[in-house]
């Protein structure tokens, strides 16, 4: 009896016939409105994760009749190959340097911007601009800057009495060159996010600290930096995810070389699949990336949850 009553109450008991009709029509419209988008998300975002997992357990070259199931062999091969361990090492350097330097430079720029000097708005726009330009185009410009004979970088090296290294073709200089480009492209974004964080700060706290005689550095170190920690955490996560997937700069400037000096995980995944047709091997590397990024994303969600609580 009661069960029936509650279930009836749940489905709105006093629903008029016309309302019910409208409601049914609404359900049908929902399907019509949302289905195409949801179907595309299912096919192009969720299905790839599952299929990639399966492919990572197979051997295939795109051409053969079907992927051959080989179990965990690809993973064993990956983690016993010196090349792949080197790829992971380069990826780690890439992520740590790009994220670390971008954050430090970004917060410095944001502090500068928060001084509200005349012209700040213009400069903020200029620093952010690379973020709307194609990575491939930025890579092309910097390729020219790093030209050892005619590039801008040579001017700086000559100024201190040195010859310019041949950046892109020298295994020791290629990775630093790419890191500079990635940081140049991304730091404007970081500084804008930090600037927004600074503008949202409670001014009475800063005023109180200043009255207590805190100098600029103390103010920055003890008040501003801690207050910005949610912003910093957000940036660390999003920048890390971005750095892991960096691709166009590598593709245009070095193609993973010289030798494998600039082969990060993202280039390796592409190279194995589309240059070498090692589908299963590439899929296994893809799973490694998926697991790493998923761990980072879960960290982010846990943090967001905690932030909501206090």
């Amino acid at each position: 009896m009661t069960g029936l009553a509650t279930s009836k109450a749940h489905s709105t008991p006093r629903m008029s016939a016309t309302y019910r009709k409208r409601h049914r029509r609404g359900v049908a419209l929902f399907a019509l409105f949302a289905f195409p988008n949801l179907a595309l998300i299912a096919v192009f975002a969720y299905w790839p994760v599952l299929e990639n997992l399966y492919l990572s357990l197979t051997r295939w070259d795109f051409i053969g009749p079907a992927p051959v199931f080989i179990g965990l062999e690809n993973y064993v091969q990956l983690f016993t190959s010196a090349t792949f361990l080197d790829v992971l090492r380069i990826t780690l350097i890439w992520v740590v340097v790009v994220v670390g330097v971008s954050l430090v430079l970004g917060i410095a720029l944001a502090s500068l911007f928060s001084m509200k000097l005349p012209g700040t708005t213009l400069v903020t726009g200029i620093v952010f601009a690379p973020h709307v330009i194609a990575g491939a185009a930025i890579a092309a410009v910097w390729l020219f800057i790093f030209d050892p004979n005619y590039g801008l970088a040579r001017v700086f090296f000559n100024a201190v009495g040195l010859n310019s290294p041949s950046w892109i073709t020298d295994a020791a200089w290629a990775l630093p060159a790419l890191l500079i480009v990635s940081i140049w492209k991304g730091v404007g974004f970081v500084s804008i996010v930090y600037l927004a964080g600074m503008q949202g700060m409670p001014s009475d706290v800063l005023e109180a600290a200043r009255l207590d005689g805190a100098n600029r550095w103390q103010l920055f170190r003890r008040i501003i930096l801690p207050l910005l920690s949610p912003t910093t955490f957000f940036l660390v996560i999003t920048q890390t995810i971005g750095a892991f997937q960096a691709f166009d700069v590598i593709a245009v400037m070095t193609g993973g070389g010289p030798a494998s000096a600039t082969t990060t995980l993202s280039w390796f995944i592409y190279d194995q699949a589309f240059n070498r047709s090692n589908v299963g091997y590439s899929a296994a590397a893809g799973t490694v990336m998926f697991v790493l990024l998923m761990a980072i994303t879960i960290l982010q969600f846990r943090f967001v949850e905690r932030k909501v609580h206090y």
Binding site: H23, G26, V27, L29, F30, F33, A34, P36, N37, L38, F44, A45, Y46, W47, P48, E51, N52, F62, S111, L112, S114, M115, K116, L117, G119, T120, L122, V123, G125, V127, F128, A129, P130, V132, I133, A134, A136, A137, V141, F144, Y150, L152, R154, W184, G188, F189, V193, M201, E207, R210, R216, F234, D248, A251, S266, I269, Y270, F274, G286, F290
Partner: protein
């Protein structure tokens, strides 16, 4: 009361150095380091660090080879030439690249925004069993890293027979979880009375969407649209793998044809091609900076899909 004390106890020289003597303690914002010459110096340095590469791009595109390959570097070109641009067209079919980029960007963005608007409306106003769960499932797509989906999406598009076609270029990018999320949040914030009035007038959902929700959400839709345009125009890895004939390439991939395997065709030619890629988005940015910054900083928060 507090503010005057601060200034009184502070050294005055920063105020003296300030270009506007009328600058008061009130205007000197908290956390600021005061107006000073070195602030300007740093600001100028930051501006130069980001302007100079772009300046090199523009000038090199129009420099003669003699000036590009002169050392010491000719920072200010004395001659202006269209030769590089013309050569770019001889080396690669830039007509086709431009056409492909424009088509893919326009169709892709319009489709993406349209789907996002309809989906957002559905999630905001229409009933459906398990709607909340479905919404979470959609948002979950934001966690899937784009680079990991490349391989399988390539196979899927191949199975659909769409490799090297516009449909294959556009289709995977049309799915939008973040744009939908953003628009739904906005739609839910619209005043409810308007919808009640519309319902009393007997307006159906299509009419409510077309003549109420969309007109009231132009800024939000513009933000989503601008971010979509920038993403599509700049997109690199997907067009790279899904097209295989020169005539189907988009502009960012087209740049690769100005780079011979053993080096560069000519810096002037490569820079003129690069300028074609860069200029439209810089102009878009110039005119819609505010929307783009909110959109892109928001998109990064959600992963950008």
């Amino acid at each position: 009361m507090a503010a005057p004390t601060t200034t009184a106890s502070r050294p005055r020289n920063s105020d003296v150095a300030a270009p506007t003597p009328g600058l008061t303690k009130r205007r000197r914002r908290q956390g600021s380091l005061g107006r000073s010459w070195w602030g300007f110096l740093l600001l100028a340095a930051a501006a130069l660090a980001f302007i100079i590469p772009l300046y090199m791009l523009v000038t090199t595109a129009f420099k003669t080879n003699a000036e590009i390959y002169a050392w010491p570097m000719r920072f200010f070109p004395s001659e202006f030439t269209w030769t590089n641009l013309r050569t770019a067209w001889e080396v690669a079919p830039f007509d086709a690249f431009i056409k492909n980029s424009v088509l893919v960007t326009l169709i892709g963005s319009v489709a993406k925004v349209t789907l996002a608007v309809f989906t957002a409306y559905a999630f905001a106003f229409l009933p459906f069993p398990g709607k909340k769960g479905l919404f979470l499932v959609m948002l979950g797509a934001l966690m899937v890293p784009g680079h990991v989906t490349l391989l399988v999406n390539y196979i899927t598009i191949g199975n659909l027979g769409l490799i090297n076609t516009y449909a294959g270029l556009i289709l995977p990018g049309v799915a939008s979880a973040f744009g939908t999320f953003l628009l739904r949040q906005h739609f839910m914030s619209l005043p409810g009375e308007v919808f009640e009035a519309a319902e009393l007038d007997g307006a159906g959902h299509f009419r409510t969407l077309r003549s109420l929700v969309v007109p009231m959400s132009v800024p939000a839709i513009a933000t989503v649209a601008l971010v979509a345009v920038i993403d599509e125009w700049n997109s690199f890895v997907w067009p790279l793998i899904i097209t295989n004939s020169v005539n189907m390439r988009t502009l960012p991939i087209g740049l690769m044809y100005l780079k011979a395997n053993d080096g560069v065709t000519s810096w002037g030619v490569l820079m003129s091609g690069t300028l074609i890629v860069v200029l439209p988005m810089l102009l878009v940015f110039l005119f819609a900076q505010r929307y783009i910054v909110t959109g892109l900083t928001g998109a990064a928060a959600g992963g950008g899909r």
